[in-house]
Symmetry: C2
Subunit: 414 residues, 2 copies
């Protein structure tokens, strides 16, 4: 009996999970390694952070998703070190060898060495991040209600979002909804005029990956919703009390959210493969690492270009790479030549909130209700679990019909 | 203008919350203090611990529940000390004075000084307890799948439940469901025969508050479901590896659940009122503390008897006391004589799981499907939130129709 080729996949985000599923019928043995025992549906994290969805609804047990992949095993472990020369992984659960490796460890927040950012700003990359941020937002409102000092209360009620990309815009819109719908009812003694949402963008426009007209629409929409959008604003320091911008502008804010800067999250490796300054791994068009043809890199960790620009780091890119890498591995096993990856862009949507979004599909630009609705529908369809899909749909119907965000909990560990 | 009487309620469990709601129309100013910003629906905690329900579904924001109580303020704070003489509460958010006080701080797990119990056994009193226990159970299965040593694997797959009251029985049944439905599908390489559920009861029968015939039914049912029920078994020690019984019987078990022994959870007080050996406060028939007639005690913290026996510590008792205390306070304010509390027992149900339960309503004893169904229905009706009620119903339908427990997540804090 021939020993089957052992494909190890590290990371069960969009890319890694898709690769495992696409290899379900291949003549290989697959081991999927992930730090958590669930897949996090990252695009909806901001709704968890703003009390719209229960965290469990966007965390899907990986073993559920592998029930139709009999050739795939799952291992919950942290990969500590990769030895590309010996083809070995050191993990929290022991040493694992591979014949072929798919690295899909994604990205983590990058703080650019800005003082205080790593200590005081709230990132939004994991489920735990989302729950911490939710705790913080509700906690500040609870505190503010009893705070008699005007300046302190104002600070508690100020949320600064650093980064005007898709996540920053989504968060700003969702926070407007949270404040308008629920918090006003919860804290009748607070003056809603005191709540301040600030969106800080270092560049000259929001949603830089969309066209300028859509950026302008987003800017105007957020302004109309009461968000203070500050363009060309670079953060120099973050503290427990607020953020400092260039030119020593000081913004008091009890909550600072970090939604800018993603760096490739490669585990410690020896030797280290060629990386970009953002920690992404340079790959061949086949998504292989040139020095180690048995190693494939997909998703946020891979430096892949499309129309001469690096990919944006959204789910469809990782999903397509997951499917592609599974096919290329099958080609490799049959001794065929590997194909180059090319991304098929079906369009791009961004949600602002309060029934507004923007989108670009082919050459058509969309603004307003339609892209808002499409964004929600597309994400519901892509969520890989029927039960959670239904429960999320109900949560949304409840939120939009009754105007309420239900998961306003401060969950502690006592 | 007369200053309104200030009623402070400590604790937003069944009793405290009900008291606040029952005082909504009274001519008083109410302040409800609770450690968390949510009410925990304790009867369903065991379903969170066994991955059937999302924790958020049984945690209802208190401000939601007080929207129709305009005279009631909410303060999220920990009560550090009560000064009954000066009528002051020291809390994490400052000092608070009261004209009338309702103490509804409930109970906490009691470990009877058994070595290791407080360190290694998992209690099930709070939402955080339920999530920790869920993490532990799923974690042990993940670990067991990769464990080649037979004895160690067997230990990882053993769960010992200490206490054969309602909670212990519920947990045993729900664990059977979890293992049969979901874990077998999740871990096809594990032998289900190796999973061992042990229910340890110090007394000679399960569900001691029901009649012997119902205890016997429960015993037989659990045995048939594969639970190893050990009666007359006293735990002498708990360690990370298992439990030690009297006569030096050693049971290896990676997970030990503590579902026995509740003590009244009175915050530090000066002077300390008269308490029972279980830390419950002795109260007058009016639920007042005899030395301090402005202090009322309700729920698990109060020592109240019914038919010469102390109350069992279930939700209906606390709810009735909450309604009653609100009425007595209104009588007091009108200068009328206070009435004595008497509990109206509508009956008692206990759920075993796998479509079985037991119950006693008046003189009628029930076993099997009917009390199982009634238990679920009653708890759904008592859950004080429409949205969560619907989502729980859907979770149950999903679980029982598709035979799956969906919330099999190991949530960590990274």
């Amino acid at each position: 009996m021939n020993k089957k080729t052992r494909v190890v996949i590290v990371g069960a985000g969009f890319g890694g999970l898709q690769a495992a599923q696409s290899l379900a019928k291949a003549e290989v043995e697959v081991l999927l390694i992930n730090r958590d025992n669930y897949h996090t549906f990252v695009p909806l994290l901001y709704q968890v952070a703003t009390a719209g969805l229960s965290p469990d609804l966007i965390a899907i047990p990986i073993r559920n998703l592998l029930r139709y992949s009999p050739n795939t095993k799952f291992l919950q472990a942290e990969v500590k070190e990769i030895d590309f020369a010996l083809q070995l992984l050191q993990t929290s659960e022991g040493t694992i060898s591979y014949d072929l490796l798919i690295l899909a460890t994604g990205s983590s927040a990058q703080f650019f060495g800005i003082p205080g950012a790593v200590d005081y700003a709230f990132p939004l990359r994991t489920l735990a991040d989302a729950v911490s941020l939710r705790n913080q937002i509700i906690y500040c409102f609870e505190k503010a209600e009893g705070e008699l000092d005007d300046a302190k209360r104002q600070q508690l009620l100020t949320i600064a979002i650093v980064g005007g990309g898709a996540t920053g815009v989504e968060l700003a819109g969702a926070l407007v909804e949270l404040v308008l719908d629920s918090l006003q009812k919860d804290y009748p003694r607070l003056n809603p005029q005191e709540v301040k949402l600030i969106l800080l963008q270092s560049g000259e426009r929001l949603l830089a990956e969309f066209s300028p007209s859509l950026s302008k629409y987003t800017y105007r929409k957020l302004r109309r919703l009461g968000v203070q959008v500050m363009l060309n604003s670079k953060v120099c320091q973050v503290s427990a009390d607020g953020v400092c911008l260039q030119d020593d502008i000081w913004l008091p804010a009890a909550t600072v959210i970090w939604s800018v800067g993603l760096a490739g999250a490669l585990p410690t490796s020896s030797p280290t493969p060629a990386q970009t300054h953002k920690g992404k791994i340079r790959v061949l068009p086949s998504l292989q690492v040139s020095e180690y043809p048995e190693v494939f890199v997909i998703g946020d960790l891979a430096q892949v270009e499309h129309n001469k620009k690096p990919l944006a780091g959204v789910a469809p890119e990782a999903l397509q790479q997951g499917v592609f890498v599974a096919r290329n591995i099958q080609r490799k096993l049959r001794g065929k030549e590997l194909k180059p990856f090319s991304y098929f862009n079906k369009g791009r949507l961004a949600i602002i909130g309060c029934y507004s979004g923007v989108g670009k599909i082919g050459s058509i630009k969309l603004t307003g209700f339609l892209p808002w609705f499409m964004w929600l529908a597309v994400h519901l369809v892509y969520l890989p679990d029927w039960r959670n899909r239904l429960l999320i749909l109900l949560s949304w119907l409840h939120a939009y019909i009754l105007g309420d965000r239900s998961v306003r909990l401060i969950l502690s560990n006592h």
